[in-house]
């Protein structure tokens, strides 16, 4: 079966989280993604080496022992090494670029400028290349050379300001939110550029400034400020127009139920499910306006009921009555959940005989489905890629290895 990005080659210089998420998605869709790493192995997220005494070399890890984050972020890619500080390695990179459709990085802008590998340099070897850069703030402006990571951009985009309790510091939304958003956005833009190139024969440069992408997701708060000069504030789970609208502690350790009531009919259904028909006619709760005014009493009633409920069972009962409710799911609960299983949200890839399970993106299709393949070992495909794609001969590959331009995983691959 033909896959959506079949025949597309992506040269991937990205590091940490945002870029690898985007290129992993392109790989899931059938692109040949070549992850280019430096010859010194980075301590990437989720791949911290085991503890060691000062001065002692880290013990070698088998591929299957690597942290889950390693397999996730490097999924569906080939892996090569190139030390781009060396002119010979940069030459090899350009030879690869000449045979590629997309080159992508998420360094701060000065890095590729210093290497001479910016878009203007790449079009000389591949006129229709699509070059993608994912800086934190953009290639222009006073912050362009600042360094920053996803959680810091959550803060700088306004999202942290809106996330938290009314009496707490701003907080961050869960984990790496900014990165995942930028990664999926970049993959989307690349697919649009490929679609366009097929019609015009022209490539282009795409800049996905991570903050610009994240700010979209609180756009309504910004427009509220633009229209009304109102600065929205943190409100935990409260909603200005709905009550109850919160999470309620259930039986069991750190176990919670989310309940959201939009109208009087739903309130009535909630009361019946809780066995509190007495509250239906209670004038303190009969309309949304008074429920909102008496929200702490509303919450007390729901809390008293929830405290004796198992959260998944409580959510099922409320859903059966037509009330918006959900268990606050842990990752363990999600992994065993029948809905996620029904949709095959998690797929296994084989790593040295061990099944590593990873999550696919949020859609199923008749044809344009994602299919995850395993992460590469460090420098696993260096020789094959340089020989078969860049067209280097064995002597050139040996020379690159001798000057530290690449790491040879298995020296025997290159004939002496």
């Amino acid at each position: 079966m033909v896959r959506p990005l079949e025949g597309i080659r992506v040269l991937d210089l990205t590091i940490v989280v945002a870029g690898p998420v985007g290129t992993g998605l392109l790989g899931d869709l059938g692109a040949e993604v070549i992850k280019v790493e430096n010859t010194v192995q980075r301590q990437i997220i989720g791949a911290a080496p085991p503890r060691r005494a000062p001065g002692e070399a880290p013990p070698p890890m088998t591929q299957a022992q690597r942290a889950a984050g390693f397999h996730d972020l490097n999924r569906s890619k080939l892996g090569i090494t190139l030390n781009l500080n060396l002119p010979l390695a940069r030459d090899a990179f350009k030879k690869l670029a000449a045979k590629s459709d997309v080159v992508i990085d998420n360094f701060s802008p000065r890095v590729l400028r210093n290497f001479g590998l910016e878009y203007d340099d790449l079009v000389k070897v591949k006129p229709d290349i699509i070059a993608v850069s994912m800086p934190a703030f953009g290639k222009t402006g006073p912050f362009r050379d600042r360094t920053s990571f996803g959680p810091g951009i959550d803060a700088l985009s306004g999202l942290s300001h809106l996330t938290g309790y009314p009496d707490s510091t701003p907080l961050k939304p869960g984990n790496y939110y900014c990165d995942y958003n930028a990664g999926v956005l970049a993959a989307t833009a690349i697919m649009a550029a490929l679609f366009r190139r097929r019609r015009t024969g022209r490539g282009q440069f795409i800049e996905v400034a991570m903050r610009d992408g994240l700010t979209q997701l609180i756009g309504e708060s910004l427009i509220d400020y633009a229209l009304n000069h109102r600065v929205q504030q943190r409100s935990a789970n409260r909603d200005p127009y709905r009550a109850p609208h919160d999470v309620y502690r259930c039986a069991g350790e750190d176990s919670w139920l989310a309940v959201s009531v939009w109208n009087d009919a739903e309130w009535e259904a909630l009361c019946r499910t809780m066995g509190r028909e007495d509250l239906i006619a209670d004038p303190r709760f009969s309309t949304i306006l008074v429920r909102k005014r008496n929200e702490s009493e509303v919450d007390a009633a729901v809390s008293a009921w929830a405290a004796h409920q198992e959260h998944q069972e409580a959510a099922r009962k409320l859903q059966a009555a037509g009330v918006r409710a959900a268990p606050v799911m842990t990752t363990r609960e999600i992994a065993h959940d029948p809905q996620f299983q029904h949709r095959n949200a998690f797929q296994a890839v084989d790593v040295e005989g061990q099944a590593i399970r990873l999550q696919r993106p949020g859609w199923l299709a008749e044809r344009a489905n994602t299919q995850i393949s395993r992460a590469p070992k460090f420098s696993e495909h260096t020789v094959a890629v340089l020989r078969d794609i860049a067209g280097l001969d064995d002597r050139e590959i040996r020379e690159l290895a001798a000057i530290g331009g690449i790491v040879l995983p298995e020296v025997s691959e290159v004939k002496a």
Partner: protein, 397 residues
Amino acid sequence: MALEGVSVLDLSEGIAGGYCTKVLAGLGAEVIKIERPGSGDVLRHTPPFKDDLPNPETSALHLHLSMGKKSITLDVGSPSGRSLFLRMLEGADILVESGGPKAMSRAGLGYDTLRDAHPRLILTSITYFGTSGPYADYVMDELTAYSMGGYTYLTGLPDREPIKAGGSQAHYQGGLHAAAGTLAALNLRDLTGEGDHIDTSIVEAICFAHAAMSAYLNTDLVFKRVGARLLSEAPRAMYPSTILACKDGFIHAHYAPADPALLGVLTETPRLGDPDLWDTPRAHADEIDELLSAWLAQFDKYEAVRRAQELRHPFTEVLDPSDLFEDAQFQARGFFRDLEHPVAGLVPHLGPPLQMSETEWRVARAPTLGEHNREVYIEKLGLSVDELSALAAARVV
């Protein structure tokens, strides 16, 4: 524009569908919002509004999410509305809908039916759980979707109740994944000539965006919320990555990957340069917070970040919406664009989420309800003025 010539019919309502087609419109597709006569998309009726006066043209969500789209009104459920809709489908590449798992098939427009008549059509459905499965018919919203996707459990302080993020992040991610899937289908159609059904789940999309699933699936590790810190509490996990108070607000503090012990130099605090502390930084998180906070108390947020960035510490300011409009980087890049809206007046809008050198992102105001009825019905479908008036009188448009 990148998607020039791509025609999108948008039956969706709400934030997820709105963001999906906002991305498609930004990339250059022609997006025609098909709205209920009289009332239109629920986005138009969702607060806040300009001056807090309910008005279907001035809701913040509508002004933001409907940017660059066209609006027509049509009662697709009526017989004549249905036949107009079917005529419009002839020239459409993509149909986006969010009516619920059974809405399309109930209307006789399920994917199998559509495919038979329009084999190149891409149908993009956006629901909470996808169109099938045990929870497909659950009633949901932002709070419950964010919770189902595992994100609520990961957000908030460890000793307090878990919380949702600000805004409607589950819906936005659902919309983004729907756009990504649609683009995948559009590329595949170039290779095969065949359309597709992109069956998007909002809950799966938000679940995809927290990186905590693979940790459980492969190591049985269940992460939980830890405030503004990174999830891993392993003693050797890097630190700081958190939000701390400064003189006039808050900053996000982050370790310098190349040399975290430089924090001692930045803060002129010898203990923060101690190698022993940096061997197990996460185990010393509280101590680092305390020492760093003492330094931060001297500076306002911009000055603290300026000093940190000078030593290549990736600190950032915590900004609120009013700060963003004053932000030097946004101003230098012209991020906010003043657009004149016939009802809302001159309103600064958000610029593009990304920039493409050859194919500009479309930045244009949201349409008024039915603004493009004449253009679509008369100029495109060839109806006469009288026919359009008759349809309007019958409340079909």
